[in-house]
C-alpha cells in the first residue's frame, strides 16, 4: 500500500501521496452531481484524491495500476451503484461504498447541487473513514 509522501511540496506536482482515492458516479441527476461535488470537496480538504472513474471504466492501464495499490471509496448517487459496479468489473476492491439515496436524499432529474445535501454526504463519508 502506498504511504503518504511528505517529501514533495512542489505546486501542481502529481506526485502520488496518500492511500485513499474517491471515485464518484457523477451521473445525470441531482445525486449524481452531488457525488462528484462531495468527492471534489473531500479531495480539496486533503482527505484523499479525486480519481477518474471514466478511466477505470475504459480500462486505461495508467488509471488501473495506481488504483490497485490504494483504498477506493465508491460514491454512488443511487442504488444502481454504477461506481461500485465499474470497480467490480475492473477487479478493484472497494474499501468503502456510499449510496447517497441511502441518506434520505431523493433522486431527481435536476442537476443543481444542494449544498446542504452535499455537506451531509461529505460528513457521512468522513464519519465512515474515521470508524
Amino acid at each position: 500500500m502506498a504511504r503518504k509522501d511528505e517529501s514533495c511540496e512542489e505546486d501542481g506536482c502529481l506526485c502520488a501521496s496518500g492511500d485513499l482515492l474517491f471515485l464518484a458516479c457523477a451521473g445525470g441527476s441531482n445525486v449524481g452531481q452531488i457525488s462528484n461535488q462531495a468527492a471534489v470537496e473531500l479531495a480539496k480538504e486533503g482527505k484523499g484524491r479525486l480519481f477518474c472513474l471514466a478511466g477505470i471504466g475504459a480500462h486505461i492501464d495508467s488509471m488501473i495500476l495506481p488504483a490497485k495499490e490504494r483504498k477506493l471509496v465508491a460514491i454512488d448517487g443511487c442504488p444502481v451503484q454504477c461506481t461500485k459496479k465499474i470497480l467490480d468489473h475492473a477487479g478493484l476492491p472497494v474499501a468503502l461504498s456510499v449510496v447517497i439515496t441511502d441518506l434520505d436524499i431523493e433522486k431527481t432529474p435536476k442537476l443543481e447541487v444542494d449544498a446542504a445535501d452535499c455537506g451531509r454526504v461529505v460528513d457521512k463519508i468522513k464519519e465512515c473513514l474515521r470508524a
Binding site: S7, E10, C13, L14, C15, F51, D61, M63, L65
Partner: protein, 78 residues
Amino acid sequence: MVKIEVLGTGCAKCKSLAKNVEKAVAESGVDAEVVKVESLSEIMNRGVMMTPALFIDGEAVAVGRAPSVAEIKGMLKR
C-alpha cells in the same frame, strides 16, 4: 531498441525513478532509449494522474510509484 519513458514533473520521487531506470538499463545491458517526460499537460494527456510513472514501449508498467532497480530489470526482461 526498447523505449523507456519516465513521466514526472521533476520532483524527488521522479528523479529517483529516473536514476533507477538508468541503473537498471546499465546493469541489464538492454539497448534502450530513455526519455524523460516532464510537461504536466503531456503527462496528464497520456492518462497519468499520479507520478512518477514508467512506460516501456508505450505501455504503462508503473504509475504513482518508483519501482526499484531490480523490479525495473525484471520489467525489461518481459
